[in-house]
Amino acid sequence: MSARDVVLGRVRAAIADVPEPDGPVDWTYGRATGMPDVVGRFVERVEDYRATVVRCASGDLPSEVVRALGSTGARRVVLPTGTDERLHRAIREAGELSVVVDDGSLTAADLDAIDAVVTTSVVGIAETGTIVLDHGPGQGRRALSLVPDRHVCLVRAGDVVSDVPEAVAALAPAVRAGSPLTWISGPSATSDIELSRVEGVHGPRTLWVVVVDD
């Protein structure tokens, strides 16, 4: 008998006493959490994690990103494929930075020699200060927003939802389509030493969020 048959057989024997049918789960999925200012709360909650948050109009985005990269002290920056052309040009023309566009061939060691990455995102969650990437165009494969030490992340104000249930509802189609998701709430952190929170372990130690008003 295969291990599969053994385990499934034991499971079936174990729940033989369970009567049909199931009781209802008293929960409504996908509900919004009421709050006066969704984007305002998002900004406040991301800042609670000691990330930097700036808001700008979409016309000012390229200059804001250049400013963000400069403020974090980045010299080499990687951009995912699918990065907005206007943004790409602005970063190149800023002159201070050497720009690499990811073509999928950069190794982890290559990425380790790069200071910063600029990505977009698909969902922001106000209540928890969370940003979600589904790694589509402009967001890069997962290693891109992980290995470089500074992450400049763009969030469209229109993509910010109130809380986790709305976010899961918005993201479910991407999950069903097989996309990986990365949920990011502040910079990499640990509480493993005496339970005091320390920012900066393996992921980017600097998270700079630009909220773009549509």
Partner: protein
């Protein structure tokens, strides 16, 4: 094909675990005494659990419908466990469709065999690990060590435990019993043997210690070809695995290697993607006391051009079906390993995690271990009694496991087991005698007269230590001397109007 990492002074690839952890665990009362005598550990735990209790209470108070959320978590887990066979088959089909290879393991030995074979097939001699309770439970690191494969812990607390030749003492923060000074010493003495050494003049500031861990592990991440993880949740409908973490070591392991092996307990399954909305609210607030943990990763088999292309999932029983077969005990399988019950427990805070003789310490360990392993060993017999039944754990559990009730249930199982094996022992014989005396009032009064006579004749106020088997009671408490008058005699003289 990689070369084998160098051997250390013990002839091993990775730091040896403490000698005591390889022997059968002491019964809880004996182990607890050792924990209580460790004053540094007690101070560390008092500080750490106090901090996290406050944090948890604050973020839970922020959620007005927290109770509803707990009930939803309970209901979803219950429904899933009721049809676990169907959900597991769905999960298997979804994972396979997504391009992952599914393996089944009935017990720890089988899981370890599968993992060793998978790593050997890659030709590698080392793996990096995401923090995972289930790989601790099956003793995977030691199985890999014996097979000539080095398993490197990458979670900061697990790294402290591994480098310190130590054993985890908490589900979430395995090195909770260590303070910053101890951690600095461990890093300075051990890091160099197993990779990048600690920097010169390392301070004991947490930020510097975390920095040393980042540097030590960076090389391992950049060269690793095989990673091993657990999973917090496995979504049956899509075959999506979820890892919830803080440091980014999880993301490194899930993203950079070529091969990813995830060991998943069969109780981790959730039916749909939407169910995550409940648990991704309950878990971070209950465990680290944060609104959300820094990083959560979801992946569904291999993803072209992104991350490991060879993805394996090992579905593990290892006693879970024992718990599932017990209509009360199966409630423990709802556990999402948040550790809120450890942090709130007055017993855990004082004795520490090592006394529980398992990777699952604290109140949940006191019910989960006897459920998973049975009540045959000295430690598992004693664990259900490692509690004052104060019920604080029940109140904080995010999936409403009635931990205190289950402790009583486990005590009953232990006693039943004892009765089966020790039919002629002292305690049952005494109970039978007492029952005979109390069944008839003449006998009871005669016994009362005899004992009050002893009370009059003996010039003592309390009964101190007695020889075995009565010593089991008197070693911890004084027994008051029997009074000179029984209650029945007193009633007759003072209250009984018929007299």
């Amino acid at each position: 094909m990689s070369t084998q990492p160098p051997r250390d002074r013990d002839g091993r690839l990775t730091p040896s675990p403490p000698e005591w952890s390889t022997r059968p665990a002491l019964p809880f009362p004996e182990a607890a005494r050792k924990g209580l005598e460790n004053e540094v550990q007690r101070a560390n735990l008092r500080h750490a659990t106090g901090t996290i209790r406050t944090k948890r209470a604050n973020v839970v108070a922020e959620v007005p419908h927290w109770e509803q959320l707990r009930s939803a978590g309970e209901a979803i887990k219950n429904r899933t466990l009721r049809h676990l066979d169907q959900h597991l088959e769905t999960l298997e089909a979804s994972l396979t469709r997504a391009g992952a290879t599914v393996h089944w393991a009935a017990d720890a030995a089988e899981a370890n065999r599968i993992i060793v074979d998978l790593v050997r097939a890659t030709g590698e001699h080392e793996v990096t690990k995401v923090k995972s309770m289930v790989t601790q439970e099956i003793g995977m690191n030691e199985a890999l060590e014996e097979a000539g494969i080095a398993a490197w812990e990458t979670d900061l607390a697990e790294l402290i435990v591994q480098l310190g030749h130590d054993f985890p003492s908490h589900i979430l923060v395995p090195a909770i019993h260590r303070n910053r000074g101890e951690i600095r010493e461990i890093f300075r003495e051990e890091m160099g043997t197993y990779g990048t050494p600690a920097p010169e003049g390392l301070s004991e500031e947490p930020v510097d210690l975390a920095g040393a861990a980042r540097t030590h592990l960076r090389n391992k991440f950049l060269r690793t070809k095989v990673a091993i993880s657990g999973a917090n949740f496995a979504v049956a409908e899509t075959g999506t695995l979820v890892v919830v973490e803080s440091e980014g070591n999880g993301r490194m392991n899930l993203t950079l290697p070529e091969t990813l092996i995830s060991v998943v307990g069969i109780e981790k399954v959730l039916p749909t993607v939407e169910d995550l909305e409940v648990f991704l609210q309950l878990l971070p607030r209950s465990s680290t006391g944060e609104r959300m943990n820094p990083y959560t990763s979801l992946w569904t088999g291999p993803h072209e051009g992104d991350g490991p292309q060879d993805v394996h999932v090992v579905l593990l029983d290892n006693g879970r079906t024992n718990a599932l077969a017990d209509p009360k005990g199966r409630e423990a399988l709802r556990c999402i390993r948040c550790s809120a019950c450890l942090n709130i427990c007055p017993v855990y805070e004082r004795v520490g995690g090592h006394a529980y003789g398992s990777v699952y310490p604290g109140p949940i360990g006191a019910i989960l271990n006897p459920q998973l392993r049975g009540v045959g060993s000295a430690i598992d017999k004693s664990l259900p009694f490692a509690s004052t039944l104060c019920g604080a754990c029940t109140d904080v559990c995010p999936v409403k496991i009635p931990i205190a009730d289950l402790l009583v249930h486990e005590r009953h199982r232990v006693v039943e087991e004892k009765k089966r094996h020790q039919a002629n022992q002292f305690e049952p014989a005494m109970m039978r005698a007492a029952s005979w005396v109390m069944a008839d009032h003449h006998r009871l009064e005669a016994a009362g007269r005899a004992s009050s006579l002893a009370g009059k004749l003996l010039p003592i106020r309390t009964i101190g230590p007695l020889p075995p088997p009565l010593s089991r009671w008197t070693q911890n408490r004084d027994v008051p001397m029997v009074p000179e008058q029984t209650f029945r005699q007193w009633w007759k003289e003072n209250r009984d109007e018929r007299a």
